[in-house]
Amino acid sequence: MITIHHYLTVSAALFALGTMGALTRRNAVNVLMGVELILNSANINLVAFSRFASRPNLDGQLFAVFVIVIAAAEVAVALAIVLTLYRLKRTPNLDEAKALRG
């Protein structure tokens, strides 16, 4: 019998791996991948809660749709910033972007 704990454990593992990726990578695109993992883990949680709620409803799935929208907007803007950074500094590494003005 698969319970809510199974889904929440998978989601916690995804969250921890995403945190790891976002914290330890130098490449900006890899950091973005970590953020995507974190958002996916949040989505699994939301859908699992809406399914296993004492009165099952659709609210968690609606929230998950909004999270997907935010993720799409975030990755578009973040990649625009990464490309601008690359054009400016010739590197995608985040720790070389430490000047406040270009």
């Binding site: 698969i2 809510i4 593992a13 790891m20 330890t24 695109v29 296993f52 659709l58 578009a76």
Partner: protein, 167 residues
């Protein structure tokens, strides 16, 4: 072990295993393609949770949109033909401690000590029409706000990468 458990563990292993590859692979391209399998695994978990519309959205938006964007990012920020496609790792030990701590706290303290008000979990009806009705009803304002946000992000991204004439 029931058939549901077998399928769940299969997709859980695919999801978490490919997420491990995403996090620890030395090559950016490997990370990007492992992310593909993570997104597919998450979509399969949505199906198991009875969220059919969300699973389709996951495939369309994440695999069709976000992953392609990330691959563009990989290819545009590297010279394709040199072997520079590596992503260095720094602060490995602090990062490992932090993420292992997050995982430990989440599983041990939050997950298994909290008393979840769990219902039967037996809703396997199609959800698309319900989601559509909610978006046009109770969630109309957030829905319109999200569409404006997407428009703003689109224009903003185009503005950021635009080559300025004077620069």
């Amino acid at each position: 072990m029931s058939a549901e458990a077998v399928v769940f563990y299969l997709f859980a292993v695919i999801t978490v295993g490919s997420a491990i590859v995403v996090t620890f692979a030395r090559s950016l391209i490997y990370s990007a393609f492992a992310l593909l399998f993570t997104f597919f695994g998450v979509a399969a978990l949505y199906v198991m949770l009875g969220a059919d519309f969300l699973a389709a959205t996951q495939l369309l938006v994440y695999v069709g949109g976000i992953l392609v964007l990330l691959l563009f990012g990989v290819m545009l920020t590297h010279k394709l033909y040199d072997l520079e496609l590596r992503s260095e790792v720094h602060q490995f030990v602090p990062g490992l401690v932090a993420s292992a701590g997050v995982f430990g706290v989440l599983t041990v303290h939050v997950l298994y000590k909290a008393r979840w008000a769990v219902g039967s979990g037996k809703v396997l009806a199609p959800t698309t029409s319900g989601i559509g009705a909610e978006f046009m009803g109770r969630f109309l304002l957030p829905f319109e706000a999200a569409s404006i946000l997407l428009l703003v992000a689109l224009i903003g991204a185009a503005m950021i990468v635009r080559r300025r004439k004077d620069a």
